[in-house]
């Protein structure tokens, strides 16, 4: 069976994949199980990726990145998520959400460099958190709180999208002391420093990086990166569940033959393979459109929805195929299941995504 055409990659993309495969095999994979179990922040992986220059992967060359675009970024995230979705979601947060939101903002160019270099860890708070920032004199008062912020536990700073009480978009930078993080015993992404965030009082007005159209642009760019990058992470966990389940099912004997020769098991594998395949088409398609500078809001949301559905299904069926073993941590599938499900409640939830998709495809017009 061939995976060519829609899935065919450029030489550059193949190179990135190869680099990452080595990094994953040597670094991310061996640490993944214990890091998850102990809820230990995989900061070293982040440093490793920074050393490889990959935290600037989707960032334009003018802004100090590699300028390789969303498709390459997706391929990278997928590859990492196969081993450790916590590392992948951290990379998405640094390179996809924070770094891309800061691109082109002059006052943030130093910060952008530090994030790409892995010198600073930034948490990201998107518009879905509904933070309101009221200005009064030279100070800001933030209302709302963030239930689940990736990297929050270890964040040196936050990149935060808020609205003024009048509804204007604001892009904020909050530094240490301006927010506090409470580590959370989360369902997934346990090694990515998940935390709840609350805000200090009287934040200086200088925390506002940009507002109005410039903030709109940052929100849009980050949103798109989140949708496509999130889809790519989901593809990675799904792929891993497929591979793990396939090899388990071929080895495990039951009723005198390998599990994989039970039609019911074989069909489960087929179903998760099919849904991952379809989701990958949608993801790469959205990424290619983004790289071509075309409007792809709907495509990105469809990709994210399809990929996270495929990932939850693959995790669920992966556990089922593994039977009792699948319920234990050491077979990895339960971790993928948790990470996939957590992805679904991160950024924009599926309900809201369907609302937006409705607008995009014109049901509401």
């Amino acid at each position: 069976m061939s995976l060519e055409h829609n899935f065919s990659l450029s030489e550059e993309q193949d190179m990135i994949r190869d680099t990452l495969r080595k990094f994953v095999a040597d670094v991310a994979q061996p640490a993944a199980l214990a890091a998850d179990e102990e809820r230990a922040f995989v900061g070293e992986n982040l440093s490793g990726l920074a050393e490889l220059g990959l935290l600037g992967l989707p960032v334009s060359e003018e802004s100090g990145g590699l300028g390789l675009g969303m498709l390459s970024f997706s391929i990278a995230l997928e590859e990492i998520a196969k081993a450790c979705a916590s590392t992948a979601v951290l990379m998405l947060t640094q390179a996809g959400l924070c770094a891309r939101a800061l691109e082109g903002i002059e006052s943030a160019s130093e910060l952008l460099g530090e994030i790409i270099a892995g010198e600073k860890i930034a948490g990201f708070v998107g518009p879905e958190s509904g933070i309101i920032a009221a200005e009064s004199g030279d100070e800001l008062s933030l209302s709302g709180m963030v239930e689940l912020c990736i990297a929050g536990e270890k964040a040196d700073l936050l990149i935060l999208m808020a609205k003024s009480p009048e509804g204007e978009n604001l892009l904020l930078r909050l530094d240490a002391g301006q927010f506090s993080a409470s580590p959370r015993h989360s369902l997934g992404f346990r090694a990515a420093g998940p935390a709840a965030i609350s805000f200090a009082e009287n934040i200086p007005g200088a925390a506002i990086l940009v507002r109005g159209e410039a903030a709109d642009r940052a929100i849009e760019v980050a949103h798109l990166a989140g949708q496509i990058g999130g889809a790519a992470i989901a593809l990675g966990t799904a792929q891993s569940c497929i591979e793990l389940s396939m090899s388990y099912a071929k080895e495990r004997m039951a009723f005198g033959k390998p599990l994989a020769r039970q039609q019911a098991v074989s069909h489960k594998l087929v179903e998760i393979y099919r849904s991952r395949d379809a989701a990958r088409h949608q993801t790469y398609h959205a990424a290619r459109l983004a790289d071509a500078g075309q409007d792809c809001k709907a495509e990105a949301m469809m990709a994210r929805l399809a990929a996270q559905e495929a990932a939850v299904l693959a995790g669920d069926e992966g556990i089922q195929i593994h039977g009792g073993f699948g319920f234990t941590t050491e077979y990895h599938v339960e971790r993928h299941y948790r990470d996939a499900k957590t992805l679904e409640v991160l950024h924009q939830g599926p309900d809201r995504m369907r609302d937006c998709l409705g607008s995009e495809i014109g049901t509401l017009s």
């Binding site: 039951a254 669920d316 089922q320 009792g324 050491e330 309900d351």
Partner: protein
């Protein structure tokens, strides 16, 4: 139509007696379990004190015959009680389910009076928890593939070989162990009562799991354990039929657990949506969330009846293999669906662990696996359907 059937009248309400049991179980669950369940889960800590309280309240002797100090209740009562306990803490739920449905009910049905006399007092008081040792590394769904050996040696058997995935294995005072007394795949299996204190009984590794983390799942090691022949349950070679029959009851325990998880998840969804009102008190929760809730609510009521029907059949000593399998099949899938929906609807707060929804999601996952994976339930139902 037989004479006895003339007395039937359809009724979906519980008797006063069972309603009272349900109220007691609910009070226990809300007061003693719900406030701590999250903690036990995070620390993977066995709720020893709560189990003691459950014993004091009689929940550990529900299926023990009255003549042996029990309450002499059956499957329906167990299901009613277990739904309540599981709606607060599925780890405690499975502990009590295995004790009642797999151990005590099994012994009451298949044991000799002497065996009962010897065991039930300690089991009723909670001094002993019972555990059920069937699975092995190479024998999960295919239970008849088990390899644990029981060699006759005079008036003893010598048991050898590890048992895997034993719920409460590290906490139990007594096990029923299924072991091979001859090579015949199914007729070569016999059942034995094995006290924890016997020489050669050991506890192996404890599993690190996705859910029901406050219920220890361990390996039970049997290293040349000498078991007196009078500990054998029923005849030699009767182990497999006993195991299968007991699993029918056990499946109902898991069905009840699933109902509890589904109900708790539905409750979390309802509580979340009830908070979403505008200034005038009108709901502003989304249709999609409300619709998902409606589907789950309908399926939950239906699944509960399916479970009670099977339990009633079992209590009436009628065949209930098809019906118990149907109950576990439907309820366990529903529990997972409901718990996943709760996490989706509640959103980031659920993902971050601020809502119990994520615990129920993790706990729910086992219900499709233990005491017969979903495909085995389908197999049982399909065979029964094609036989009629």
């Amino acid at each position: 139509m037989s004479q006895s059937e003339d007395n039937h009248i359809v009724d979906f309400e519980l008797s006063a007696d069972l309603q009272e049991l349900r109220a007691r179980a609910r009070a226990f669950a809300e007061e003693e379990l719900a406030p701590h369940a999250g903690d036990w889960d995070r620390k993977a800590e066995f709720p020893a004190e709560a189990i003691k309280k459950a014993a004091q309240l009689g929940f550990l002797r529900l299926t023990i015959p009255e003549r042996h100090g029990g309450l002499g209740r059956g499957s329906l009562a167990s299901c009613v009680m277990l739904e309540e306990i599981n709606a607060a803490c599925p780890s405690t739920g499975v502990t009590i389910s295995v004790h009642n449905s797999l151990f005590c009910a099994m012994l009451a049905k298949w044991g000799t009076e002497a065996q009962m006399q010897r065991c039930f007092q300690k089991l009723a008081s909670g001094e002993w928890l019972g555990a059920y040792c069937l699975s092995e590394a190479g024998a999960g769904s295919d239970a008849a593939a088990l390899q644990c050996e029981a060699k006759k040696d005079g008036d003893h058997y010598v048991l050898d070989g590890p048992k895997l995935w034993i719920t409460s294995g590290s906490e139990a005072g007594i096990y029923v162990v299924f072991a091979r007394t001859s090579e015949d795949r199914t007729r070569g299996i016999s059942a034995f009562l094995v006290e924890r204190e016997l020489a050669g009984v050991g506890i192996g590794r404890k599993e690190t799991k996705l859910g029901i983390k406050a219920s220890p799942t361990v390996e039970v090691l049997l290293d040349s354990v000498r078991v007196p022949a009078e500990n054998r349950i029923d005849e030699e070679g009767q182990g497999f039929p006993i195991a299968l029959d007991t699993l029918d009851g056990g499946r109902l325990g898991i069905a009840a657990q699933s109902l509890g998880i589904a109900r708790a998840s539905l409750g979390l969804i309802k509580a979340h949506l009830a908070k979403q009102v505008d200034a005038k008190g009108r709901s502003r929760s989304s249709q999609s969330s409300q619709w998902a809730m409606a589907d789950i609510a309908a399926d939950l009521d239906a699944a509960r009846f399916l479970t009670w029907r099977a339990a009633l059949l079992r209590d009436q000593k009628k065949p209930c293999g098809r019906e118990a399998a149907m109950a576990k099949l439907m309820t366990s899938r529903l529990a997972n669906r409901a718990a996943r929906a709760a996490v989706t609807i509640i959103g980031p707060a659920a993902g971050s662990g601020a809502s119990a929804a994520e615990r129920f999601l993790r706990d729910a996952r086992i219900t499709e696996i233990y005491e017969g994976v979903t495909d085995i339930q389908r197999l049982v139902v399909a065979r029964a359907e094609l036989a009629t």
